[in-house]
C-alpha cells in the first residue's frame, strides 16, 4: 500500500449527460485524468466542450436535474467524491478543494460585504474562534491578494470593486483554508487584458507558495502555455490529446490540437489590405472628436459631473483599409462606434465621410449615409432577432432602403449574400437558434453587406467566438474587403487578433488616443508605456512562438 501512488485527483471514465426538451446531450463522454500535488493541469477546449461541466462535478455543483452523472468516479486523495454523504462532501468544499469562477461580479453575493463573504469560509469550517476572528483573517487574506486598504475595503460590497479586484476577492475566498486543489474556471476571461496577466501571476505565485494542485480551465492557448505543466485538450466531451504541455503543443498528435495551434494569430501571415507604401484616398476623417456624458448622482441636478468618454480623437480611415481601435473597457472605443453610426451626437469635433460633414446630414442624405456604413456587433446571439428567419434578417437593409433592389430579387440576393459569407443558400429559411456562434456572426456580416456598404464597423465582432472560429471570421472579412472594396473599423480589446488584419492601429485609454500608427510600427516599436503593457499582456510565451511558426509553415 505504501508504494502505491495515490494522485491528488483522479477522474476515471466520467460521463455526464443533460436531458432537455431536445433530447439527451452527452456533455462529458468518458473523461479520465489525474492531477498531482503542486502541479498545474490545463483543461483546454472551446465552449460546449464539457470542460466546465467536469469542473462542476468535481466541485459537486452540477445542476441535477437536468444534469446526470451516468458513469465514472472522481477520487480525491483516494476517496471517491461521488460516493460520499452530503455532509462529508460539504466538509471538503472550500477547505480542501476550492474554485475560482469566470465572472466574479455574478459569483459574489451582491448584498453582503466582501469581508463577510471571505470570512464565511472560516466560519463554515469552524476555523475561527468568533466572527471578529474570521473577519481579521479575511482582511489578512485581502492584503495577501493585493487589495490596498483591506481593513476598510472589507466592509464594502462587490459592486464597489473593479473587475480585477473582484477576482482577487474570489481568489482570497478560494485560498482561505489553503486547499490542496484549486480549480480556476476561465479565471481571466471576463477581465481586461492588462489585468489578466496580474491575476494569472497572482494565482501562480500563491500556488507555488502553498503547493496546491491547480486545474486551469481555459479556451486560451496562450494562458495554458503560460501556466500549465500538463494539458488535456477536450472536444465534444472527450479528451483528444493529453500530456506534458510542451510536448503536446510542439508535436501535436490529434488533428484538433493542430487546428487549435494554427488558429493562433500568425505574426508573419498578413491579411492586410493595401501595402503600407500606397496611400489610398481618405474615406472617413475624424477631427478633434469629443463626447461628454452627464453623470447625475448629485442631490441637485446642476452639481452633476461630466464624463469625457471620447477626448479629441483624430483618425483617418482610407479606402480598402482596416483601422483597428484597441482599448480596454471604458476606453471610449464603443462610443466612437456610436458616433460614427450617428447613434449619438458629439460634444465637439467633426467627422467627414467622402468630404461631407457627417453630423450635419439630414433626411435623405442621412439615409444614404446609413447605407454606406454598416455595423457588426459583438454578441451574435443578441444582435439577431430570434423570431425572424435568416432571409428576413439579411434582407432587412433592403426593406429599409427600398431603392436598392426590387422585392422580387431579394431572395436571390439573400442567397448570394449567404454564399458570400460561407453559408449555404438553403440556410435562408432557418432561424438564428439553429446556428452556432460563428455561423450567426456570418449571418450578421451578410446583413451588413446587403446594402452594399463602403465601411463596416466591427465592434468586438469576434470577441465572443472561440479561437478557431475567430480566425475563420477574420479571414472572411479580409477576403470580403478585397472582393468588395470595403473598409473596416475593427474595434477590439485584443491586440493579437488585429495584428495580421489591421493596416493601422489606434490604441485608446480613458477616451484619449495614446498611440496611433501603422500596425508593424506599433507592434515592433511601441512608443507608449500603455501600448507596451497591452502588448506584453497579450503575448504568447516565447516557447510557444517557435512552435506556432512551425505549425503554420508545416500546414
Amino acid at each position: 500500500m505504501t508504494d502505491a501512488h495515490v494522485p491528488l485527483l483522479e477522474i476515471e471514465g466520467l460521463k455526464v449527460q443533460f436531458s432537455g426538451s431536445r433530447g439527451v446531450v452527452k456533455a462529458v463522454d468518458g473523461i479520465s485524468l489525474t492531477v498531482e500535488r503542486g502541479e498545474t493541469l490545463a483543461i483546454l477546449g472551446e465552449s460546449g466542450s464539457g470542460k466546465s461541466v467536469s469542473a462542476s462535478v468535481v466541485m459537486n455543483i452540477l445542476d441535477m436535474p437536468p444534469g446526470r452523472i451516468t458513469a465514472g468516479s472522481v477520487r480525491f486523495e483516494g476517496r471517491d467524491l461521488l460516493k460520499m454523504t452530503p455532509a462529508e462532501r460539504r466538509k471538503i468544499n472550500g477547505s480542501e478543494i476550492a474554485i475560482i469562477f469566470q465572472d466574479p461580479l455574478a459569483h459574489l453575493n451582491p448584498v453582503y460585504s466582501v469581508g463577510w463573504q471571505i470570512a464565511e469560509v472560516f466560519r463554515i469550517h469552524g476555523r475561527a474562534r468568533d466572527a471578529a476572528g474570521a473577519m481579521d483573517k479575511a482582511v489578512a487574506l485581502m492584503e495577501r491578494v493585493g487589495i490596498a486598504n483591506a481593513r476598510s475595503r472589507a466592509d464594502q460590497y462587490p459592486h464597489q470593486f473593479s473587475g480585477g479586484q473582484r477576482q482577487r476577492v474570489m481568489i482570497a475566498m478560494a485560498l482561505a483554508l489553503s486547499p490542496k486543489l484549486i480549480i480556476a474556471d476561465e479565471p481571466t476571461t471576463a477581465l481586461d487584458v492588462t489585468v489578466q496577466r496580474q491575476i494569472l501571476d497572482l494565482i501562480k505565485d500563491l500556488q507555488r507558495e502553498m503547493g496546491m494542485g491547480l486545474i486551469l480551465i481555459t479556451h486560451d492557448l496562450a494562458v495554458a502555455g503560460l501556466m500549465a505543466d500538463r494539458v488535456a485538450i477536450i472536444k465534444d466531451g472527450t479528451i483528444v490529446e493529453s500530456g506534458v504541455i510542451r510536448e503536446a503543443f510542439t508535436t501535436p498528435k490529434a488533428a484538433y490540437t493542430q487546428q487549435l495551434l494554427a488558429a493562433i494569430p500568425d505574426v508573419e501571415k498578413s491579411q492586410r489590405g493595401a501595402p503600407e507604401t500606397e496611400l489610398r484616398p481618405p474615406l472617413l476623417v475624424a477631427r478633434d472628436l469629443s463626447k461628454d456624458y452627464h453623470l447625475s448622482h448629485g442631490l441637485v441636478r446642476g452639481s452633476s459631473g461630466m464624463m469625457r468618454a471620447v477626448d479629441r480623437v483624430n483618425f483617418t480611415l482610407r479606402e480598402k483599409q482596416t483601422l483597428g481601435i484597441v482599448g480596454e473597457s471604458g476606453s471610449g472605443k464603443s462610443t466612437i462606434a456610436r458616433l460614427l453610426m450617428r447613434l449619438t451626437d458629439p460634444t465637439s469635433g467633426s467627422v467627414h465621410f467622402h468630404g461631407k460633414d457627417l453630423f450635419s446630414l439630414r433626411g435623405a442624405d442621412l439615409l444614404a449615409f446609413r447605407r454606406d456604413v454598416q455595423m457588426v456587433f459583438q454578441d451574435p446571439y443578441g444582435s439577431l432577432n430570434p423570431k425572424m428567419s435568416v432571409a428576413d434578417i439579411v434582407a432587412e437593409p433592403l426593406a429599409i432602403h427600398r431603392d436598392i433592389l426590387s422585392r422580387e430579387r431579394w431572395r436571390d440576393r439573400v442567397r448570394d449574400l449567404l454564399a458570400m459569407v460561407g453559408l449555404k443558400p438553403d440556410h435562408a429559411d432557418r432561424y438564428p437558434h439553429q446556428f452556432s456562434g460563428g455561423q450567426r456572426q456570418r449571418i450578421a456580416i451578410a446583413r451588413a453587406l446587403a446594402s452594399q456598404p463602403r465601411v463596416i464597423i466591427c465592434d468586438e465582432a469576434v470577441s465572443a467566438l472561440d479561437v478557431s472560429i475567430q480566425a475563420q471570421i477574420i479571414a472572411l472579412l479580409a477576403d470580403l474587403r478585397d472582393k468588395l472594396d470595403l473598409s473596416y473599423i475593427f474595434i477590439t480589446h485584443d491586440l493579437p487578433v488585429v495584428r495580421s488584419f489591421a493596416d493601422e492601429i489606434m490604441v485608446m485609454k480613458g477616451g484619449a488616443v495614446v498611440e496611433y500608427g501603422p500596425t508593424d510600427d506599433l507592434f515592433l516599436r511601441p512608443k507608449d508605456e500603455y501600448t507596451r503593457t497591452l502588448l506584453s499582456a497579450g503575448e504568447i510565451p516565447v516557447w510557444m512562438q517557435r512552435i506556432e511558426t512551425v505549425a503554420h509553415h508545416g500546414a
Binding site: 468544499n93 472550500g94 477547505s95 476550492a98 451582491p110 453582503y112 463554515i124
Partner: protein
C-alpha cells in the same frame, strides 16, 4: 433627491385625495335628514344647516375646511359631538394591530413555505404548496369569513361570532385577513427564491461548503426579498383599506368600520379624519418600505 421627489408626490396625491373625499361625501345628501327627526320642519333643517355651516356655498365650506386643517382642527363629529380626529385615532390602533399581526403571519408563512417550495421546483412539496397558496390567493375573504363563522361560531360554538375580547376573538378575523396575502406572497417568494437559488453566487456558496439552510436563508433569501417587499407593501396598504369588510363582518371597532358608519350617517368630519389617518399610515408605510430597500440592498444605498 429620489426621496424628496417621492415625498412631494405623496403629499400632492394626499391633497388630491382630501379634495375628492370632501366633495364626494357632500354629494351623498343632506345630513339633516339623518340627524333630525323625520317630521322636522323646513325651518328646523335650515337652522341645523346654518349651525354646521352646510348652508354656505360649497367652496366656502372647503376654504373653511382647509384653514381649519392648517390649524390642525379636523372638525367635530355630528353624531358624537366631539373631535373627529379623536374618534379616528381611537379606532385606528384596533385596525393597526389586526393588520400588522395578519401581515406578520402571512409574511413569515410565505417565506417559510415559498422557500420550501423553491428548493425543488416541480417537486411534491412545491406542488402541494402551490395549490395551497393559489387557493389562498383566490378565495374571496367575505365568503371565508361567513363560512368560518357558520362552522366555528354558530355550529360548533367554539369561537365568538364577533366583537373584541380575549385571544379567541382574534382567531377568525386574523385567519380571514391572512389568507390572501399569504397566498400571494407565497407565490412571489417562491418565484424570486427559485431565481436566487439558480444564481451564480449560490454556486459559490455551495463551493465554499455552506449548508443548504445557510444557502437558502442567508444567501438566497436576502436577495429574493426585494420583490417580496414591494408586493408586501402593496398588500399592507390593501389590508388597511380592506379591513373595512372584516371589521364590519366581525364588529371590530377599527377605522374601517368607523368609516362605513360615518358614511352611512353622513358624518363628514369623521369620514375626512379617518381617511386622513389611513392615508398618513400608508405614507409612513411607504417610507418604511424605502428604508427596508436601503437596508436590504447595498446597491440601492450607493446608487
Amino acid at each position: 433627491m429620489r426621496f424628496f421627489k417621492r415625498s412631494l408626490f405623496t403629499l400632492l396625491s394626499m391633497a388630491g385625495l382630501l379634495l375628492l373625499v370632501f366633495f364626494l361625501s357632500r354629494m351623498t345628501g343632506d345630513p339633516s335628514y339623518l340627524f333630525l327627526p323625520l317630521d322636522a320642519s323646513a325651518a328646523d333643517r335650515a337652522a341645523f344647516s346654518q349651525l354646521h355651516g352646510f348652508d354656505d356655498p360649497i367652496y366656502v365650506q372647503f376654504g373653511r375646511y382647509v384653514v381649519d386643517l392648517l390649524n390642525l382642527d379636523f372638525g367635530t363629529s355630528l353624531s358624537q359631538q366631539r373631535s373627529a380626529m379623536d374618534i379616528a385615532l381611537e379606532a385606528f390602533p384596533h385596525t393597526l394591530t389586526l393588520v400588522s399581526m395578519a401581515l406578520a403571519i402571512a409574511f413569515a408563512g410565505a417565506i417559510l413555505f415559498g422557500s420550501l417550495a423553491a428548493r425543488k421546483p416541480g417537486g411534491m412539496i412545491d406542488r402541494l404548496i402551490s395549490i395551497l397558496s393559489l387557493t389562498g390567493a383566490s378565495t374571496p375573504d367575505f365568503w371565508v369569513a361567513i363560512i368560518l363563522v357558520l362552522i366555528f361560531a354558530v355550529s360548533l360554538g367554539w369561537l365568538p361570532t364577533s366583537g373584541v375580547g380575549g385571544p379567541l376573538y382574534w382567531i377568525i378575523p386574523l385567519f380571514v385577513l391572512v389568507l390572501r396575502p399569504f397566498g400571494l406572497l407565497g407565490q412571489v417568494v417562491r418565484g424570486s427564491m427559485i431565481n436566487a437559488l439558480s444564481s451564480p453566487y449560490v454556486k459559490t456558496a455551495y463551493a465554499k461548503g455552506a449548508s443548504e439552510q445557510k444557502i437558502i436563508f442567508v444567501h438566497a433569501l436576502r436577495n429574493s426579498m426585494l420583490p417580496v417587499i414591494t408586493v408586501a407593501g402593496d398588500l399592507a396598504a390593501n389590508l388597511l383599506n380592506g379591513a373595512v369588510i372584516v371589521e364590519t363582518v366581525f364588529g371590530w371597532p377599527g377605522i374601517g368600520r368607523l368609516m362605513i358608519d360615518a358614511i352611512m350617517q353622513r358624518d363628514f368630519a369623521v369620514i375626512q379624519a379617518s381617511i386622513l389617518v389611513t392615508a398618513c399610515a400608508i405614507l409612513i408605510l411607504n417610507i418604511l418600505l424605502d428604508i427596508a430597500y436601503v437596508v436590504l440592498d447595498p446597491r440601492v444605498r450607493h446608487a
